[in-house]
Symmetry: C2
Amino acid sequence: MLKISKKADYALMALQHIAAAQFGDMMPGRVVNTKEIAEEYNIPLELLAKVLQTLAKNALIESHNGPKGGYVLARRAHQITIAQILESIEGPLGITDCSHEKDGEFCMQREHCNIRTPLLKVQDSIAQLLNNMTLQDMMGGTPLITIQSPTAQGVER
Amino acid sequence: MLKISKKADYALMALQHIAAAQFGDMMPGRVVNTKEIAEEYNIPLELLAKVLQTLAKNALIESHNGPKGGYVLARRAHQITIAQILESIEGPLGITDCSHEKDGEFCMQREHCNIRTPLLKVQDSIAQLLNNMTLQDMMGGTPLITIQSPTAQGVER
DNA sequence: TGTTAGTCCGACCTTATTGATCGGAGATCA
DNA sequence: TGATCTCCGATCAATAAGGTCGGACTAACA
Ligand code: FES
Ligand code: FES
């Protein structure tokens, strides 16, 4: 119910990892490749590759080809919102399939629909929530330090 | 992306209609049957029936069998939350598939997962939003009155 | 400079979820 | 009692997601 796809899940993990490698290590512009992420989180390699391709196409990360190649974050972590990531993978956010009426074709129920307005309000709230949360917020709240605390360190903010 | 299923959509429409018929007409305990709703909103009849069955099983509405039978709201409109409706149709709310770890089986990524905590926070926010919105709130905001005739005229057959 | 190894990239197939459908059981009113 | 109208459970088809394959490119190295 209201579940985001696994591909989006992988995208979030990968981006978090790339961001951590980029700002947490000593090397500032460190390039991280697909295999490293896939092995770290037990993600099917080829599937993760596909996800990263999509992310690169949407200008969230930059791809460097050849040996020692890989991906680098295209912007700073606090400039990337969760909404941007999810929309890159799964298309525009729409809580119901008739949210975005495409070129003159509305759903059958549109005429007598009684739930459109309140549902759009719910959708707006969710969109706002996702837009206000950045990748940096997701990294344990602490900006540059790598997390890695075994205890359930709260992410209160 | 984050789209709720069509069945849940139908459930919301049907419940709104039942509530309107129950409190908007002169008859307080009016029974409304499946066919009436299906024709009003152009919903496939049998599918809507299935949805209503599920709703009845979850004690959101009561079913009255036989001729002149149909469904009646089990509680007052302001006692039914959107979250209850959605969860009745689509199961418990989980933004990711590993939200509810079922009996000892966690996902492969659990060990090194870096996005679990923030995602649970997002899920909590959405759940709270849906729990605070009742069926009555969805009916134009105005409490019990305001359901005038547009529905009643279409129901005549 | 030629080779080679390692990377990204696009198209394809398989599986799971949702959407929709069918016939039967039970209950009420005439 | 009888017929009719309703709800109910099991079944089938369409769609989207998850996963997989081989090809194209780039950059480092000998
Ligand atoms: S379901 Fe499409 S407008 Fe309400
Ligand atoms: S994906 Fe399952 S715990 Fe993070």
